[in-house]
């Protein structure tokens, strides 16, 4: 598995996927729906799947002395690695905004969602959607990625919209606060849970689909 992941990182990965990790700095953008930083990470990963298709990567990998399940596991591992790298930067920047910059303009009067615990939860939900909607959709054919990505775009935009609207509803203002609030922990918990469960279920479904298709 480690060898396959190394292959994904070096031979298969599109260089631009690594560049898109830098979109984590969108966390620092005031007046911007920063949940979209999660979307851009996934857009970067999409490029690797495009590369994989153009390079006949799936066929090459399936011919290696590995099982079909490992082919799927490697793609998931690569995706989760990229998401983890981006999320780590996102966490650091969110902590900076929640502490040192919480009362600093323009963040203090930012009308959109602040970089808080709820924001981190929404980013994880976006990753979870990518891992479930896109990855499991891709492995139904191992070459068609357009439709799964469009569906992912729609649902991730909905999540971003919900994230921006909720703090403006009565009693939910804490979700948009510039500092950490207990209510934000609920969204973060939902994010962690959906990421872990969604990715695990999608991995199982993808392995099942991939084991049935002809390459």
């Amino acid at each position: 598995m480690k060898t396959l992941l190394r292959k994904e990182m070096t031979l298969t990965a599109a260089p631009i996927t690594y560049f898109f990790i830098a979109f984590a700095v969108m966390t620092m953008f005031p007046g911007y729906p920063i949940v979209m930083s999660g979307f851009f990470t996934c857009l970067g990963i999409l490029y690797t799947f495009q590369f994989a298709r153009e390079y006949n990567d799936i066929l090459y990998t399936a011919l290696l002395p590995v099982s079909r399940d490992d082919v799927v596991r490697a793609k998931f591992a690569f995706t989760v690695c990229i998401e983890a790298m981006t999320f780590l930067i996102t966490i650091i920047l969110a902590i900076v905004r929640m502490t040192a910059l919480a009362n600093v303009e323009p963040y203090a009067s930012n009308p959109l969602m602040g970089a808080n615990l709820a924001f981190l939860g929404y980013v994880l939900i976006v990753y979870a959607l990518f891992n479930t909607v896109f990855l499991s959709g891709f492995f139904k054919t191992a070459y068609k990625y357009g439709r799964p990505f469009i569906v992912f775009c729609v649902v991730s935009f909905v999540v971003a919209a919900v994230g921006e609207v909720l703090p403006h509803l009565p009693g939910l203002g804490a979700l948009g606060a510039t500092t950490a609030e207990p209510l934000q922990g609920v969204v973060l918990a939902v994010g962690i849970l959906s990421f872990a469960l969604g990715t695990a279920c999608s991995l199982r479904a993808s392995m099942r689909s991939f084991s049935r298709i002809d390459l």
């Binding site: 390079y55 006949n56 290696l64 099982s67």
Partner: protein, 280 residues
């Protein structure tokens, strides 16, 4: 002689094509050609052997081991090359080899360097810069570098010029001399005459025959100037083709007595196939 590969009753169903009960076996240290016209099921058969296509039923044994149960172990001992298909076109071949070597227990760097020299491959070139023949040679180099005992080659000579094809066929024979076993599909039948020990002939998803090349050829005779055949003679014709001089007819060796005045001759493999595939 032990068997490198045994295929029994392999079946696969597509909406418009069916592979039906394909069975054949391949002795170690031999070259077998998988022949048939386009769409006969050659690629489906080869892909099924490697688990790329999921067969509906059938049994595939490599060195007596079931592929489904020993997939990784069997793949360590196999090299698969597809003519006209390449991976990571814009990557340098050195990069591809560097990653590929990580997966094979028997990878031999010395052998890899030797193959690069023997095939005049430049590690710093991208696959895109290589000719079709050189791409096939690169994939062969990868297979040989992990000491693949069985080479499964899908149309390896397609798209190659006659000189490159000849070189590749000579290489196949050298490899068999060194102990390898080769199964390759082709629709360039003349290639098989030069190097194959046996053939498996697929027709519309079924095995028409699987036997030694000379045994197969010996079964048929070709009648030239077959323009005015009697009704009795026509009944014995397996296939008829037209050329500039007139018609040629394929018959079985045991029916030669009915055609003595036309002096039937032993046909080459391509002629046999073209007549057997002739529309009735």
């Amino acid at each position: 002689m032990s068997m490198a590969l045994e295929v029994t009753d392999l079946c696969k169903d597509y909406p418009t094509f069916h592979l039906r009960n394909v069975s054949f076996s391949l002795e170690e240290g031999s070259i077998m050609g998988l022949i048939g016209r386009n769409g006969a099921g050659k690629t489906t058969t080869l892909k099924s052997l490697l688990g790329l296509v999921r067969p509906a039923s059938g049994r595939i044994l490599f060195w007596g081991m079931d592929f489904a149960d020993h997939e990784a172990e069997i793949k360590q001992r196999i090299g698969y090359v597809v003519g006209g298909t390449s991976y990571y076109q814009r990557r340098k071949i050195g990069e591809i080899a560097h990653v590929t070597r990580l997966f094979y227990q028997n990878w031999d760097d010395g052998q890899y360097r030797h193959c690069l020299d023997e095939f005049s491959l430049d590690e710093n070139k991208c696959l895109l810069e290589l000719s079709e023949g050189m791409k096939v040679k690169f994939n062969l180099a990868l297979a040989l570098s992990h000491h693949a005992e069985l080479l499964i080659l899908d149309e390896p000579t397609s798209g190659l010029d006659p000189v490159s094809r000849e070189e590749l066929l000579e290489l196949f024979m050298d490899l068999v001399d060194r102990g390898a076993t080769i199964l390759f599909s082709t629709h360039i039948i003349s290639d098989l005459e030069k190097c194959a020990d046996g053939i498996t002939y697929l027709h519309e998803g079924r095995v028409l025959t699987s036997e030694g090349l000379s045994t197969f050829r010996e079964k048929y005779r070709l009648v030239t100037h077959a323009d005015d055949l009697s009704d009795t003679q026509k009944e014995r014709v397996l296939g008829i083709r037209r050329n500039r001089e007139g018609h040629t007819a394929l018959i079985l060796k045991e029916d030669v007595s009915a055609f003595t005045e036309l002096s039937p001759d032993i046909p080459d493999l391509e002629t046999i196939m073209s007549h057997l595939e002739a529309e009735e």
